[in-house]
Structure formats: C-alpha cells, structure tokens
Amino acid sequence: MAIWYALLMLTLVLAIEIFLASALDDVVQEQIDASMRLRASRVEREVTTGDDDRLDPGDVQAGLLELAPLEEFSSPGIYVQVRDLTGTVIATSANLPRSELPVTPWLLKKALDDQEGFETVAIGAEQIRILAWPVDANGPVVGIVVVGQSLRLVEVAHEGVQRLTAIAAIVATVAAVAGAWWLTARALRPVSDVTRVARSIAATGRFEQRIAGPAADDEVGHLVVTFNEMLARLEQTLVAQREFLADASHEFRGPLMVIRGNLDLLRLGLPEDERRASVREASEEIEQMSRLASDLLFLAAAEADETLDQEAVHFDEIVSAACERARTVDGGLHQVVLRPSEATVVVGDHTRLSQLVWNLIENALRYTPAGGRVEVSLASRDDSAVLTVRDTGVGIPEESLPRIFERFYRVDKARSRRNGGTGLGLAIVKSVAESHGGRVDATSVVGQGSLFTVQLPLEVRGARLQPTEPPLAPPQQETASVAAEAGARRARRRARL
C-alpha cells in the first residue's frame, strides 16, 4: 500500500515539476525570442540608409551604411549579421568568428517572403537561437537581419533547475510518504486496536475485553464505540447463556440424585416392599427429567428461532381446545370456565401459542386447591387480542411477583415439585408472548388468587395470509399434568385429537 502511495506521489511531483520546468522553458524562450525580435528590428531601423531602401554592398563600401550600431546590438553571446537579398553577408558583429551565423535555406526563404523565422541550431557544443528578420521598412524586402543568441546560460540554468527539481521530488515524496504514514497510523490506530482485540477474543474466547481510550468523533471513532457496544451485548448474551446452562443442569441434579440413590439402594438387599418403593420413586424422577428436558428444548427453540411460523391462527379455537383438555385432565377437581368469545385471529405459530395457553391454565389448576375456580376469557381490544386466566388459588406474594416469569423460579419449590412442575412454564409463556410481539402480566392477592393477562397483536387486515394448517396435537402430553396419579388420565391425554 505504501509503495503505491510513494509511486503515486513521485509521479505527481515529477509531473508537476516537469510541467513547471517546461512552462518555465517556454517563458524563457518567449522572452529570448522577444528580445531578439526587438534587437533585430532596431538593427533594421539603424541600417536602413536615408536615400533609398535598398541595401547593397556598394552602400557599405560607400561607408554609407552605418554599421557601428551593429556593435551596439551585439554582446557576449549575442551575434548580429546583415545579409543582402542573395544571402551574402554584408556586415557582421565583431564578436562573430569568421564563420557565418548558420541560416538554413528554409529560414532564408521565409525571410525573403517577408516573414520572420526562428530556429535553434547547434554550433559545436552550444545551442544557438537564430532569428532571420526581413528588412522591409514597410515595403519590399531589401535584406535580412540575422540575430543569433547563445542558449548556454539558459541551458545551464535549466540543468540546475532539473537537478534541484529531482532532489526536491525525492525529498517531497519521502516527506509525503512519511507524513502520510504517520498520520494514517495515528488515525487508524483504533482500527488496529479493533483488530487486535478481535483477534484476542477469537483466540481466548474472553468477551470482557474492550477497546480502550476515548474515541474521536469521526468514522473510526464511531466504529470503536459500536464495536465496544457489540462486545458488551455479546458478553451479556454469553453470560445469560452460561447461567441458563448452569441453572438447567442444576435442575437435573435433583432427579438424578434420587434415581442414582435408589438404584444404589437396590443393590443393598433391602426387603421387597422397600425395593419396590425405590424403583417407583426412581421412575417418577425419570418422568420429571423428561418433562424438564422437553420444556427446556421448547424454550430454547422458542427463543432461538427467528423464523417463527407466520400463519393466521384462530386463537379462540386454541383457547377453547385448551379448556376442554384441562377439564378432561382435571377430572372435575376444579371448575374450569370459559367465557364465550368471538373469532380472534392472531398471526403466529400454532404450536407455540397452544403451549402458551396450556401452560397458563395448567399453572392456574396447579396452584388452586380442589373445588376452586379457573376462569378463562378472550376478547379483542383495539388491535390486540387479550387473554385472561383468573384463578381462586393460593396467590403469589408481592415480592415474588416480578420474578415469576424467570426460568426455574418457584415460589414454593416443594409444591411445584410435587405437582411435576419444571419451573419453566411461565418462562415459556413469556417467551412465546414476546416473540409474537405481545406481552404477559400478572397480578395476585395471596390467599385469594391470581390473574394472568396476555396481549397479542391481532392479525392486520390485508396482510398476506397463509392457509391455516390442520392443528397438530401440541406437545402437552410431555409437560406436567395437574394430578400426578391416574395413569388412565395420562393415556386419555395422549390420544390425538
């Protein structure tokens, strides 16, 4: 990259210098030519005699031709000659050696045509500029004034300038490259910081690192700030995931302990009924672990999946189906009441929405004593579908209320475990509600009951609809049942709709 820049700079500088040098040359040349013209015209005026406008050798011999002025117009390096129409030299300045000023036939012809002409010829090692100036005194041509000027000084100056410009070009290039290098290194240091930190994170997996230092208010500065923000978000996600993993595996320890302990006991040679108790309790814990695994998978899928099914779902049908199922499972232990509702269409995933409704109803049944009442209602308000599940259960203490949607949080761990709860039911409800663009809230009075409210955006008219698929049997059979006994109830639940 730096090489290209250096080459570019060098080319630019040289181009400028060459341009300037040649422009200078032109100007100098112009000046020289102009002064030569002036000289020639003065000579022309001086040498033209009084009585006629002819110029012939006779005039010279007659001493009539004032040639002394010729000397005036010559100086070291500037030569003046006068020729007649035949091209013969009539007079010449003293500083001219015996040789004539070289005038090419072309120049001669031009002059005789009453046109000035310039040429540059080399005499020995020297460059001489030749001007052929027709003597016409505003009439026909009577002779030619030839002016020759040595360009040696110009050449010397030119060479000097060339040398200087070459040096200047190199110095300028080096300085420019060095300067550019330093400036960009400074400006881009944050970028190399970003690279360094990113590499370090990739190698060590430690996301707490950040780019240090105040960020400038330019594009690179914004990059640094944004990069740090992204790292913070990543770290947050990772920490949350780690905690989830730790919490989840911790939840399995309980059941595993019971299973392992009881299986170990079997080897001890306990009496028959105690052995049977061990086997039964181990089996129940396996059921618990299956429910837990199932809920975990569901939750993980619900949270990770951006490509949620986007179909038009009849939410009212889901709600009524869930209530029916609840009554069957419950076996009359509680009153399950569904208020009549109109058709309500929501856009989303049928399976997940079914799970959401089921979890809420199951929760209500679980925490309501026998004989209590669970009331479900669905209504449309503005552009939302509003589902409420109200129970006359034990209620939730105020300090616990903000936490009930947290994973694995239970108000009463013992009760939850007795009823086959996994601690994930409400977390799933919250996750599904939010991934559908909705929300869930809870209010409660201890000893009286609780009220859960779910709001989901209604399907917007004119939105692209996909035909609703026939409802699949949702995976409720693997999540907690309300009554732990009665395998018959379980069998009934497993029957597909």
């Binding site: 019971v258 392992r260 302990g261 170990d264 001890l268 129940e284």
Partner: protein
C-alpha cells in the same frame, strides 16, 4: 455400644426417603428434617452423631445450619451434600464447619464409606462392641469370642463375620456379601463365599455351639437365632 444416630437434612422428600431406607439398613438410627429450622430443632431434641446436610435449601440455607450446629459442638460430624462442585463452593462449606463434602449425584456406597470414616473419629472405637447371642466381637481389636472362649479367624473370615453382625437378622444375598466384603460386584458362578461361610461356621460352631449363620434357600445367608 450406641447405635450411631444420623440426622439427614434435605428439602427433597424423595432424597430423605431414600436416605432413610439406606441408612437404616446399614444399622444407623435415622432422623429426618426437610428444612433448616426443623434440622436445628431436631438436632436439639435428639442430638445426632453425624449430620448429612444439603447445602441448597430454601429458607435457612445449609451453610448457616452448619455454622449454628458447629457452635459448641466439636464432636459432631457434618457431611455436606451439594450440587455445586466448584472449589469456592467447597471451601465455603468447609469454612462453615463441614467435615466432608459430597457432590450430588453420588454413589450411595461412597456416602456410606465416608460416614463410616467420619464416625470412626467422632465415635471412639474402643467403645464399640458387636454382640449377638453369646458371640462378642470388638472391632477395634478384632477379638472374637463365644461364651468367653476366644476364636481365631482369618482377616477375610473376620470381615465376613463383622458384616453379618452389622446386619443382624437381615437376609444378605451372596452378591451383596461379595460386594461389601470382597469389594467386587461380579460373583458369577464362584462358590468363594460358600467356602468362607463354611469355614466360618466350623470355627463358630466348634464345641457344639449353635449355628448362628443360617442359609436362607434361594435368598442368601442370615445371622439369626433360628433359621
């Protein structure tokens, strides 16, 4: 000799039940508590020799229970159970006064071994004497006598006899005996145990003494007065 008293504290009722089954079988007196407050109350009313204590409990947590139990009670052995295996967690447990630490889920055999190790220290061994009928065994010295007459046993025979004495009247299967006395769980077709029992019987029943180790057809052996 006192039967060692163990208090088990855990918020999971299934864990309590399985502990009770297993520890009772091993000959311990077992008390149960489902939370910290209950544990402290029970420990106060029926002082245990050893406490098996779950760390993570709602309410008063295991560490706090441990600290309180430790106050003024240096001889009490406390074994902590926990789901957290990290070093800081263990250090916390030990610093709170635990004598030992087991991570759930654990093998029950390991729990039993650690309990035995802890009780060796907290219960002076020279107190312990195992008796059955007229048979007296002193584990500390490995002295065996019937009606006062000393009996010489090989190491393995002694271990076999002690095992029976610790599980009096219980039916012990050959597999179990092999596991607990020989420390191996694959007996197969071997008649190793039968040979040893035969030899043990010869020595115990010398001079016409009554049989104490009886064969229970199809189930195993048992130390009892009559078959």
């Amino acid at each position: 000799m006192q039967r060692p008293r163990i208090l088990v504290v855990d918020d999971d009722p299934k864990v309590l039940r399985l502990m009770q089954r297993g520890l009772t079988f091993e000959g311990y007196a077992v008390d149960l508590a489902a939370d910290g407050d209950e544990a402290l109350a029970t420990a106060h009313d029926c002082p245990p020799h050893l406490v098996v204590l779950d760390v993570m409990m709602p309410g008063l947590d295991g560490l706090e229970v441990c600290r309180r139990m430790r106050i003024g009670n240096r001889d009490l052995a406390i074994l902590m159970l926990t789901g957290r295996a990290s070093v800081p967690a263990r250090i916390e447990g030990f610093d709170a006064g635990a004598d030992d630490y087991l991570v759930k889920p654990f093998a029950f055999d390991e729990l039993l071994a650690r309990i035995r190790a802890l009780l060796r220290r907290s219960m002076p061994p020279d107190q312990e004497v195992l008796e059955f009928e007229d048979l007296v065994v002193t584990p500390a010295t490995r002295e065996v006598a019937r009606a006062g007459a000393p009996i010489e046993l090989t190491a393995r025979e002694y271990e076999l006899l002690e095992f029976f004495l610790r599980h009096p009247r219980q039916v012990l299967s050959r597999d179990l005996i092999f596991l607990r006395v020989w420390g191996s769980d694959f007996l197969g077709e071997s008649n190793l145990i039968d040979v040893h029992i035969m030899r043990l019987r010869e020595k115990l029943e010398a001079s016409g003494r009554s049989r104490l180790i009886h064969t229970i057809r199809g189930a195993g052996y048992s130390l009892r007065r009559v078959p």
